[in-house]
């Protein structure tokens, strides 16, 4: 693409970013509003954050959400990486379309359908719904996202390193652990983070698969938001944005670091 922006380019980018960021900025600013009324600015205050710490129900939900996200993201990373390996490495075989379809369909399937289907499965299997059913549901959805991220890395992967290791008598499993895994590690980490965020974010599938005692943070926020804007909700949303911004910044710094290391690593692997 030829560089150099016209006025039109500049304006469209500026307007686009204004649209993307203005509502979030307003949300953050109003979380520091001393007044309970949203339309009125009552000066800067952190009282809503203080009230949040005393909201035991909200803290419990945050804990449930974090546990589910940690467990399902980890399971999804293992399953998704395996799926990506098979998509890229298995070559052509009969029924391949069905296999690839299984990976891609959940990505765009409307969530109401996925959620309903999983609930009906859990009812048919007669299992108690709650923490574990949400975890399984999130694992199923997010493993497909992990598979795509890892697959993109594997498509740009230099197989000669693996071949060299095998030629020198390294058994397949050890080749995978010592050569392949370190090389695709950044994509696996990125896939884990994507899965973690998606699980933390999900409302629709959790609504279908939840049971008594397992109220995730989005479920709790949703029930509050339906009743209107509340400064406490602004505060917890601001905290979640802050956490995500921190994690994403750390991750991109880590990616820069590992990108410089990656250029050295293949040389090391050949020794």
């Amino acid at each position: 693409m030829r560089r150099g922006m016209s006025t039109f380019n500049f304006v469209s980018v500026a307007l686009g970013f204004g649209f993307l960021y203005l509502p979030i900025a307003i949300l953050v600013i109003y979380s520091f509003n001393a007044s309970r009324l949203v339309g009125i600015w009552g000066g800067w205050s952190t009282r809503w954050y203080a009230e949040l710490i005393n909201d035991q129900a909200m803290l419990d939900s945050a804990w449930v959400s974090l546990s589910i996200a940690l467990l399902s993201a980890s399971a999804a990373t293992v399953l998704g990486t395996l799926a990506a390996m098979s998509l890229v490495r298995a070559g052509r075989f009969r029924g391949r379309l069905l296999f690839t379809g299984l990976i891609y369909a959940p990505l765009v399937m409307p969530e109401v359908i996925t959620g309903l289907a999983l609930l009906l499965l859990f009812v048919a299997m007669d299992v108690d719904r709650g923490f574990w059913t949400i975890t399984i549901a999130h694992t199923t959805l997010t493993m497909c996202f992990v598979a795509l991220v890892v697959q993109a890395r594997l498509l740009n992967f230099d197989t000669s390193l693996e071949e060299a290791a095998m030629d020198l008598g390294c058994p397949p499993l050890r080749t995978f652990l010592t050569v392949t895994l370190p090389l695709i590690a950044p994509a696996i980490a990125a896939g884990w983070m994507l899965a973690f965020t998606l699980s933390l974010d999900d409302l629709v599938i959790a609504s279908f698969t939840t049971g008594p005692g397992a109220t995730t943070l989005p479920l709790r926020i949703y029930s509050e938001v339906r009743l209107g804007v509340k400064p406490e909700i602004n505060a917890i949303c601001t905290l979640m944005i802050a956490v995500v911004a921190l994690v994403v910044t750390a991750a991109s710094l880590f990616a820069k670091f590992s990108a410089t290391r990656e250029r050295v690593l293949p040389l090391g692997a050949q020794v």
Partner: protein, 342 residues
């Protein structure tokens, strides 16, 4: 000209670590996993590996494919005041005779009910209308944004790109909630309108279709921008230079060169937005009114409020049938991307 991988590129770039890919090393994807001289112990290893690799597919078969078949089955059942609230219930232990009985009891009653009640037809039409219009708005906003970023100086590009991706990482619910803040009656939007004298009395924005469109366009914008940006970024700039050398004015070069070459990104972005928007629930529920519901809301209320599981299942199956064509198109793009970029 490279044939871009629509979704894989998008998702890979959505991740904060995703930009380090592709140092130009390409592999022969037609060849299977490296298996040199097949010695006998290694062949055993290969078989173990095959089974290992099947695990994710078994998982998806159990937790994705079978559940959808169950939805289909229940859509053919009848509502009952029981737990679970439908009959007949399939009981494999009862043997073949029961299976016959079970099949005989299946009926198309729920589909007839959906066809007879205008609420369902209106909901489907409303969903399609909102999905089509929002996809067009997304294209109109997304393309110039992607084009602007692709033409920005290189040192700015990574930052601009990151800024498109970042909102994706903040919670979807938070972003919708942020708009409730802005659009409510005494919210900032109305305050600005009143202060500038555009309106005399604050209009109600929430519970209108306008709010739904704003929410949808806002939430799905990254999904439209990223695939288009990916195709534009990979475009050979020599093509535009050639067009200019041959006397083609810039706007015509855009029309004849840039647009046709970015069509894959445009299609991928449109499908990536259109399909989930049709089944959208949260955005119309929080921002929209109660006059006409989208089909996701109708399914939700059939299931949770009316507790009519068979009808909800039938609604889901009809929705799935509506989406089969775009889903197949999307699948086709994906499969082509996987075959490699020539």
């Amino acid at each position: 000209m490279s044939d871009i991988a629509p979704q894989s590129t998008v998702l890979h770039s959505l991740s904060p670590m995703g930009r380090g890919r592709g140092e130009g090393d390409s592999i022969d994807r037609a060849s299977p996993a490296p298996s040199p001289q097949p010695a006998s112990p290694r062949r055993g290893g290969a078989r173990a590996r095959t089974w290992f690799v099947l695990i994710p597919y078994l998982w998806l078969a159990v937790f994705f494919l079978i559940p959808i078949l169950i939805v289909f089955k229940i859509s053919l059942s009848q509502t009952a005041l029981a737990q679970p609230p439908y009959t007949p219930v399939f009981d494999p232990a009862a043997g073949l005779a029961h299976l016959k009985d079970f099949l005989a009891k299946l009926s198309l009653e729920n589909y007839a009910f959906i066809a007879s009640d205008a609420i369902f037809l209106l909901s489907y039409l409303k969903s399609l209308e909102i999905a089509v219009i929002s996809t067009i708005i997304l294209l109109l906003i997304g393309f110039p944004l992607a084009y602007g970023i692709a033409r920005a100086p290189r040192r700015w590009q990574a930052l601009l790109f990151m800024m498109v991706v970042l909102p994706f990482w903040t919670s979807f619910l938070i972003r919708i909630y942020a708009w409730i803040n802005v659009l409510q009656r005494d919210g900032l939007f109305n305050q600005v309108l009143l202060a500038t004298g555009i309106v005399d009395a604050p209009p109600a924005w929430l519970s209108t279709d306008i709010a739904v469109y704003i929410g949808i366009v806002y939430s799905y914008l990254p999904f439209m921008v990223l695939p288009i940006y990916a195709t534009l970024e990979n475009m050979e700039e020599t093509l535009l230079e050639a067009a200019a050398d041959l006397g083609c004015p810039p706007w015509q070069a855009f029309w004849l060169v840039t647009l046709p070459l970015s069509i894959n990104g445009v299609i991928a972005g449109a499908l990536l937005c259109f399909i989930p928007i049709v089944g959208e629930f949260v955005i119309p529920d929080l921002l929209g009114g109660s006059q006409t519901q989208m089909i996701g809301q109708t399914l939700w209320s059939e299931f949770f409020a009316n507790r009519d599981w068979p009808v909800a299942s039938a609604v889901a199956i009809v929705l799935l049938c509506l989406l089969v064509a775009p889903l197949m198109a999307y699948q086709h793009l994906q499969a082509r991307a996987l075959e490699g970029r020539p």
